[in-house]
Symmetry: D4
Subunit: 253 residues, 8 copies
């Protein structure tokens, strides 16, 4: 099994009864990962899910990261994302594999390769302090081949900053709204646009923001339709999902 | 001690050393309440605080309410507010004292009397379901002699409804922003006006609104300056505070 | 302004400098709603957001609902959704407007009209008790012109039930995963498919499910990429968002 | 649009129909901010809201702060508040702009200028440990042209300390009650005065104070009327709101 | 083992080495309860702890209550308290055993007998609505042979009501402070008296009182020394503990 | 007013009508504190409450502590407790006033003086890690003139350790039960003794102990009668209250 | 695949390489359930997991329950448990299938059949009110072929009741400790026995028991080793797990 | 009393009436611990509970740990576990007693001795970051004489990794499922195996994982039967309980 078209063909044969579901499952499961001891590296997900590979860096040593990345690189993976990785760890990984590091987002791209930027994802933030999370989202989306427009510091307490960029918002295929404190940005944006809105609560704030809980609850309760929410500070998750949405194929009708 | 001017005169004499603070305290404390057994009725607060009398109806029997109201009426109190009182209880109280009842707000005004409506308080709500709390605020403010402008169903998910009423908002001396769910109304209003904004979270919503907690946290974390917050569903408290603000005397300067 | 093509034309003229953003805003804001007193009915959202109209029924009287629906119907709206409405209220609304009522989902469709069912949204539930929320999602999506496949009672405690339907899941353009208790369905589904997954926590459960909090937190923390979450029991929100995603136009490339 | 009188004139022309609301909005929105990349500096808020400029220092680099302050100073802003800024950061900002730094409150005033101190705001604290938050409130109010009276360490566990200062409290136009632990100060003060009381819960305490949650809930539940609450440790917000209240113009009657 | 003097004699013999601790334990454990199947009735606690017997009525049927009470009565127990028992259940129990019922406190005393009222316990409440809990405390203490002074509706929002009763408070050997909402009563009382103060948070309130949580946290964080706290609405526990304190023997020294 | 007998005489004269309550209040309020600017030192509390003086060290500089202690020492205070003070701060305070420091409890006694140890307070802990809190309680009680018996590491998971010390427990006039994790010690002790039990939850534990919340809730819900609870880790409060209880005078009968 | 011996044989052939894991999976997955539309009935779990069948009754109609039970009965299932089912629903189900109903536990056993009672599980409760949950556990275990000893009302506040039954506890192969309020029973029992202890927190209690949260946290933090916890009020889960443990085969050594 | 057979003999004599329970208790209680001052070392638990000795290292000094271990070693204890102990502390303990230290698990084994590895416990983790907790569990089980199979990084987001090891899982006598974030691993494993499953939530994660709360709630709400839960990060507790279960003797029957 080596690409998505193959999988689709397989599933269609399941659908018309040519192949049994159990057989399809077995085909999909063939040799899916390499066991490094400390991790089971999944080379197959890019096939199964059509996505770039991602390594969650927090709680892994630079050696573990380098080991996983190298194994992937040997199989031909490119633009491998490493999230939540410190400058120091990234420097040590960079000794053995080619690596771009983005300090603000604490995100690295290993085996970076040119990707065409397609469609249009807008990443908006309520304030300057939300930028690290927003950059994690934006860089993730870019690494996965999406065009990204940044719209930072457009919080609702100064509504004119948002309204002046209404045209930018309305041209988006997907908006990522990143905000801490009261998280109202998602509701206001959700009421203005007609594309999917992914809300990312951030832990920016103090006191009764309770580490992002306030923004999280706000966004979950948004009165605006078309919004959904990811975990607090989960810029990566938002960028990844936005990529899936932005790259949807059209309905055949 | 029978009116606020007297108190001010007294305090100034404290300030210039003519009267000792302890003596002033004693003057203020003279005969402050009547003990009905189940309640210590405070006839003095209207003097000490310049406010209409208020009875918190929840957890009191109609007989207790009627007893307290009658004692007050005999001392000359008018426009006595009774909050959180059911239609049934109000009906029974109305048998012994003159009473106006407002069903939506579950609020009654005993010994109603004409009051001049002064200044301008705007009461805005995010949705139709917030109206009971908003009416409690509005009726409280009106009973205390304030002019009130109602601006209902102007939630941020349809921002144009709010912007179309920008002029109404900007003419207010004080705005009460009533909203449940994500409570973003307070932040947006707070960013638009330059008068004090009192935010009232409501328990309207479901799921992760957690009985108003979501709106409460949002409002406490509002990035807009000039906002403060009262308890969930506390329309009375907001109306009472708005009255104090609206009726501020100007600086002599 | 009467359709989305007009808006796109307008925004492109903004983009190329022909029209100023402020002018565009004014065009968009023209006559956007009718004020019924208790509600500001928004006839414009269907234009601005390309969506069917929706009325949140909880906390509104049958008279209010009928009033809003009638006003909409006169303007030509069809397939108007009314969520969280009881059988009794629906019966009374049905006296004045044509109405389909779905008891399990407590959802009504006013002025129902034939809509082509396009694309493919899969609605999956962990258990039988999650069906009311799932039906709210499925009926919402259908009212908005989407083809829906129901996959109920496929919770992870009996994994073979889910795996046997792997082909159904993998053909979806968007999956709605509805689950209470521990909410693991979203993670497992998210790891199997490569389309966007919308997770809906439900309040099904007892004890430490804390009214859906357990499922909500699980889904927010999902290790699977491509998932996002809506409010507890918010079937409507999931269906609405799934429709937006399912009906995405393809990238022009 | 260059001062508040202009805005009032404009709004009155809206009120009498001479100007349409939309036109007023456009006048207000003209050239409202400068985009520095990392922040959209809002020169207009001082006009729109009649307030001194404020920069939330937490999460900004000294360079960013200096950049924003310089841009403001060039436009003629004075008494620019920078909150939550460390001594080190302040020292570096002070290399490029004139700056007063207040260590206890971690607050700086850039381009300091003489301001007349008007009216009377009392800032009271429950204990010595609440002083940093209280000073943030007091210095904010002073920077905005208000006379401030400090009344520190008057917690309710030693009630005589508060009662001995009853005259000071009763002469206030607005009281800011700052307290951690059980936060009872706001309720007691609220029962003694007849001006608005702004309650500021602080994170002072341990164990079941849960970082200020205990004081926050207490203050929200205050039985005393006329109180409202801001976020935990939000001295700035309280000082800012107190200034708005203290500087209210009198009713024309 | 039939009375406390016996136990003291026993323990002193342990202390001087005459009796081994293990032997003392065995003497204490002899025939301690009767097993009714649904309950293990403890006739020994009154000996071991010198207390009246108590039955927690909630979750027991009238038959179970009557069975337990009868068994106790046969052994000579008097003034048996039954807490949290409805009027209906009490009526049915009263068919088989002599019973006094107190409706407000939902508390019954079975086999009532005259008891000398000794010492002085003050029960104070913040408001009228706290009376049911306060009465549970007061009646418990009275049934255990203590003199009780009631001081209701003396909440801190009207401080003069409390101060006018300062002499009553200062003569107490133990004060029970019962309050909901913000629970500040305990702190203020704790600062005024020099006897132990037992704080009882009540579930009176709404919104952010969260069923008594606000009062509970306040009381736990009280800055006043000499206070301790029992469970929300636990009037019985407070009355029981107050009795133990009030009836302390003096130090021999 | 210089000692408690005087106060009792005064209050009795209030009780028999010889003195008005207001006059008594004034006598009590005379010259109650010295204002050091950063603190209002209360020399009167020892009179009003019969207690040793206490300074909460957290959040005060060594200079502030030394200043307060010196002022107290000059007035003749002895055995002044300073809680939550670091070794470093204590060393600096010790440069100007005589001081005993207890490292484990982070507690100092300034101007230490011999006090007779009276009565009997037992301080029991669940484990070794609870000792710092237990020592704060024990040292506080000792500084206030109480005899203290320590019973450490007798948690309920090894019940025989507790039962072997049953005689020690049963001779106590007051027990302080200090425990983290599940806090069951208080319930078990409460069921064994017939004196007041003060439960102190500690923050010892991890995971779902949530910083002491688990132990706090356990202790509040204790099924054993005669228990009450102080704040998490509040050894001082427990020792102070135990002293009040231990030193109760006997009933005159 | 029709019994567990077959499965073991299969797995051993996997272990020695005779059968591939994938093949084993397919054998296991063959025809595992029947789809009733509203539920996917799993006839295979009894094979795969060696357990009696269980239906969670809450949220299912009597018709649905009867449908599922009938389908199971036809396949030969016996002793089918139905949990959380009301008397009314059970009566209606009993019209079509043989059924035993246990009112206290709200649990039914359909197609009841004699089962040998093996081993020894002790079910202990803290109080009388915990009996419904305890009975759910006990009846579940009995339906699955285990001998059960009930030990009710042995809470730690009267420790002698528990100690008198020490022999019963120590003979158990597994203990289920059921308790609400502070949940200390699990810790004390866990310290006394050397078999696995399953702790079941119950929602019995009030105030700060927060619906069972207090007992849940206590049990999770138990200092005693060998304990684990199930969901609040989850008697079924505890009985099911206890059965698995009680029926463990011995180690072959 | 020196071994478990003796205890069983004793208890059987209790059961047949030859020995009174009280006498048995006394035999069991004889000289159960040595009092080191800071700890009561329990030499008896290994007899009473048949377990290896365990010392909870957190909050103990190296000297205290060494003291306790030495005392145990002198009595002949072997394989003494010390949990939550840092490398530094372990090094200092190792100066006086023989010690194996495991850095990842922060766990030491003092007086290590060969133990036969019996039965089969599987320890599975969701991700690489869960390994420290998993190793604490695995090493604990091994020190207690159990064979352990490690299955790391098999989280449900890549289901094939788990399914490929189905045979390993199904041969287990007990499975320990260790997972953070959404904790779905326990549910999925619980649905696949028919042995007891012990779920260990970990604090791995960020944002709405709230320090392990999300995983904890998920696991408590697991729809799969046969699961129970220990405290967050409590690898030791899981390993200890798994050992008890794995080493169950078979039913005699």
């Amino acid at each position: 099994m080596d690409n998505k078209q193959e999988i689709l063909r397989l599933l269609r044969s399941v659908a018309d009864g040519t192949t049994a579901p159990e057989d399809a499952l077995l085909e999909l499961k063939e040799s899916p990962f390499e066991d490094l001891g400390y991790a089971k590296v999944d080379f197959h997900r890019s096939v199964r899910q059509g996505a770039a590979e991602v390594i969650y860096g927090a709680g892994k040593t630079p050696e573990q990261i380098a080991g996983i990345v190298s194994a992937m690189g040997e199989r031909g993976c490119r633009n491998i994302l490493i999230t939540r990785v410190s400058q120091e760890a990234a420097d040590r990984v960079a000794e053995s594999v080619p690596l771009e590091y983005h300090l603000l987002a604490k995100l690295a791209v290993a085996f970076p390769a040119e990707r065409k930027q397609r469609g249009n994802i807008v990443v908006a933030t309520g304030g300057t302090s939300d930028m690290p999370v927003a950059e994690e989202a934006a860089l993730t989306a870019e690494a996965m081949g999406n065009r990204v427009t940044r719209l930072y510091d457009v919080g609702v307490a100064g509504l004119h900053r948002l309204l002046s960029n209404l045209d930018v918002l309305m041209r988006a295929r997907c908006v990522i709204a990143v905000a801490g404190m009261e998280g109202a940005l998602a509701s206001v944006v959700g009421g203005l646009v007609d594309c999917p809105v992914i809300a990312v609560p951030t832990s920016v704030g103090y006191g009764a923001s309770f580490g992002g809980l306030s923004a999280l609850l706000s966004m979950l309760n948004s009165c605006a339709s078309g919004c959904s929410v990811v975990n607090i500070d989960n810029g990566f998750g938002a960028g990844y999902l936005a990529s899936r949405i932005n790259q949807m194929e059209g309905l055949e009708d």
